[in-house]
């Protein structure tokens, strides 16, 4: 199986889906001739032309709103927000329109569209090229939110998202783009939306995470094995719809749960996971649920020591796991 990078998995999924279905098209800022500022749409313009790889004006609300209109008509648009930080002007279209279209029309109109957005820090992106935005959308029924961590999941989930009948927010951690590589089959496959995956089996502490911090958890687990701490790692992969059974199973496995995400602690998705466990598996717990998350400051600063302080890393995850293990 070929080994490819996380961003190549994005490109391959887009390319193969566009080859498979003529209704699939891409739109966004710089996605065409330039192939995207991260090169996620590299080569698509050459293969599919300006009509299906559309360089839009610099207008996030229109990128989302036009994609909504086209999807309601019956197309399969994949809209790119250049950075998740810039999704805010499109918030009204995504939340008031895309998420509610099916419900408000009593199932007669719906929006099969994907909105891709690179999120997350650790790339010297400062306040406005580093944010995690999932908590802003997680409480909006009608949307699906996918946050893969590996190239295999990226490709399989992006294909599922494009084929899905509802709007999917597909959040790609930009630090993962070239850092994370993995085996990806050449033949067509999909990964179902709404299914978490155990990425490592263990007995002492369960870590629940997604995106870049999932890799920090795996790294921490590998190192802690040498100390005799066995870590169970669950990758949520999709946060809406949430794989509740997998979370509860992973909780029961060890009785100690650490939830890790880069989004801010307060209002972050970890609170939802924690509440789910408390309500459904309280008597399975051997320690209080622990959350490790981005600090409650407005966004990630630019200067390296400040960025480093904000970011999580394997060391911080290791410390938190160790504390839980010793509880």
């Amino acid at each position: 199986m070929p080994v490819i990078s996380y961003i190549d998995a994005v490109t391959q999924a887009l390319q193969e889906e566009m080859q498979r279905d003529e209704k699939v098209f891409v739109l966004g800022e710089d996605v065409g001739v330039r192939g995207g500022v991260f090169r996620a749409t590299d080569g698509l313009y050459k293969e599919f032309g300006a009509e299906r790889v559309i360089d839009t004006p610099l207008t996030e609300s229109a990128i989302a709103g036009v994609a909504i209109g086209a999807s309601v008509y019956g197309m399969r648009p994949v809209a790119e927000m250049q950075f998740a930080d810039f999704i805010m002007p499109a918030y009204n279209q995504i939340v008031s329109e895309a998420a509610k279209m099916r419900y408000r029309s009593n199932n007669t109109w719906y929006c099969p569209l994907v909105i891709r957005a690179p999120y997350g820090g650790g790339v010297h992106g400062a306040l406005y090229h580093s944010q995690s935005v999932e908590k802003l959308f997680a409480g909006v029924p009608g949307l699906k939110i996918v946050m893969p961590s590996t190239p295999y999941d990226v490709k399989g989930l992006l294909k599922s998202a494009i084929r899905d009948e509802d709007p999917v927010l597909f959040l790609e951690h930009k630090r993962c783009y070239r850092l994370i590589k993995g085996e990806v089959p050449t033949e067509d496959y999909t990964v179902p939306i709404g299914e978490a995956e155990v990425k490592r089996e263990g007995d002492d502490v369960t870590v629940i995470s997604y995106g870049l911090t999932l890799h920090f958890a795996l790294k921490a687990a590998e190192e802690l094995e040498k100390e005799g701490i066995s870590v169970h790692v669950l990758d949520l992969r999709t946060i809406i719809p949430l794989d509740k059974e997998a979370i509860l199973e992973a909780t029961v496995k060890t009785g100690k749960v650490l939830i890790v995400h880069e989004d801010n602690l307060t209002g972050g998705f970890g609170g939802e996971v924690s509440a789910l466990i408390s309500e459904n598996a309280f008597f399975e717990l051997d320690a209080p649920i622990r959350r490790l998350a981005g600090p409650d400051v407005p966004a990630m600063p630019y200067s390296p020591p400040l960025e480093k302080e904000f970011m999580l890393n394997p060391e911080k995850v290791k410390t938190a796991i160790r504390e839980l293990a010793e509880f």
């Binding site: 036009v66 909504i68 279209q93 329109e97 007669t108």
Partner: protein, 337 residues
């Protein structure tokens, strides 16, 4: 040449290629919209329905525009006042009353949305929301899809003049202009955005003039004249179908009633101003036109009013008796099932 001695002179509607039957149907639809709307206010004041948002004063614009489109293939992204447009495209008085009473059978949303939030797949009307101007971008998206699929339909989206200040207006016009899309942007300027008059809404004083900045014609028409609106929309649709791109139309009329049943317009405008506007009411003016050209008589006009009265009565009675949605419907259709 005076009109008295020129009986052979072509009438305005004939010059537009409209038959006597067609203009009579336009008037009939305008009148139906008005009567439905008036009945809703009565029902609201009687405590029978929670909310009304009106088309009154804008019927000519809505009906004239919709008549100029192809009702078999064109798409609509209307806003919450477009009752007249919906009736032309195929919804009925019964549909409106079912919506007013929030009944399960209501076609826009099965009672999920407030009245006026139109959406009807049968007639290619995309469901709308309450945050204004969002629908413009959907119309642009439909037009983009049509162009990609090499179809020859147009999409028409309508909105108030207040909406011409929203970002989505500017983003939508610009996107359609850049990609030369078959969209008609029709502003129904009724001179008020709830309480705020156009003087406080529109720098430059004109919505139509904003078209120039986005590389499209910006056309001003009398929104009280259904024939003038018809002509402008017909021409815009022809341009769009020929691949000549979008058009912005500003049809100016007047909102004859408060913003909604929860508003009191006496708190921000003189009632004398409303009375003046009523003299230019399209229903009065168009009726006179039809009488002048001999299409409508006092008798046939009265008969039409009676007929429409019956339709509205029947629709009201039907809707009032119709069942509400089952509470379990609260949980359906969040996602594909």
């Amino acid at each position: 040449m005076g009109s008295e001695e020129s009986v052979m002179e072509t009438s305005r509607h004939e010059a537009l290629g409209l038959s006597d039957d067609q203009v009579l149907e336009m008037y009939r639809t305008m009148l139906l919209a008005r009567k439905i709307d008036e009945r809703m206010w009565l029902l609201n004041r009687a405590g029978k329905i929670p909310f009304v948002i009106s088309c009154q004063g804008q019927e000519a614009t809505q009906v004239g525009a919709a008549f100029a489109l192809d009702r078999e293939k064109d798409w609509l992204c209307p806003y919450y006042r477009d009752l007249g447009m919906m009736l032309v495209f195929g919804q009925t008085a019964k549909d409106q009353m079912l919506s007013a009473f929030a009944r399960a059978e209501e076609p826009n949303s099965a009672g999920r949305q407030m009245p006026g939030h139109y959406g009807d797949k049968r007639f290619r009307v995309i469901s709308g929301s309450s945050p204004v101007t969002t629908q413009l971008l959907h119309a642009v998206g439909v037009a983009l899809a049509g162009k990609m699929e090499k179809k020859d339909f147009v999409s028409l989206t309508s909105f108030g003049e207040g909406s011409s200040n929203q970002g989505d207006f500017h983003e939508g016009l610009n996107f359609a202009g850049v990609h030369n899309l078959p969209v008609i942007f029709m502003c129904e300027n009724n001179k008020y955005a709830i309480s705020v008059p156009i003087e406080k809404q529109l720098a430059g004083g004109s919505v139509a003039a904003r078209g120039q900045g986005y590389g499209m014609p910006g056309i001003s028409v009398d929104g009280n004249d259904p024939l003038e609106v018809y002509e402008a929309v017909r021409d815009a649709a022809a341009r769009a179908r020929k691949g000549e791109g979008p058009t912005l139309i500003e049809a100016t009329a007047y909102r004859l009633v408060p913003h909604s049943s929860d508003d009191d317009d006496r708190t921000y405008r003189e009632m004398g101003e409303v009375e003046e506007a009523r003299k230019k009411d399209s229903l009065v003016q168009f009726k006179k036109y039809l009488e002048d050209v001999g299409i409508l008589s006092t008798e046939s006009g009265a008969e039409l009013e009676r007929e429409i009265g019956h339709i509205v009565d029947e629709a009201t009675e039907y809707a009032e008796q119709a069942p509400y949605p089952d509470p379990s419907e609260t949980y359906t259709h969040v996602y594909a099932e």
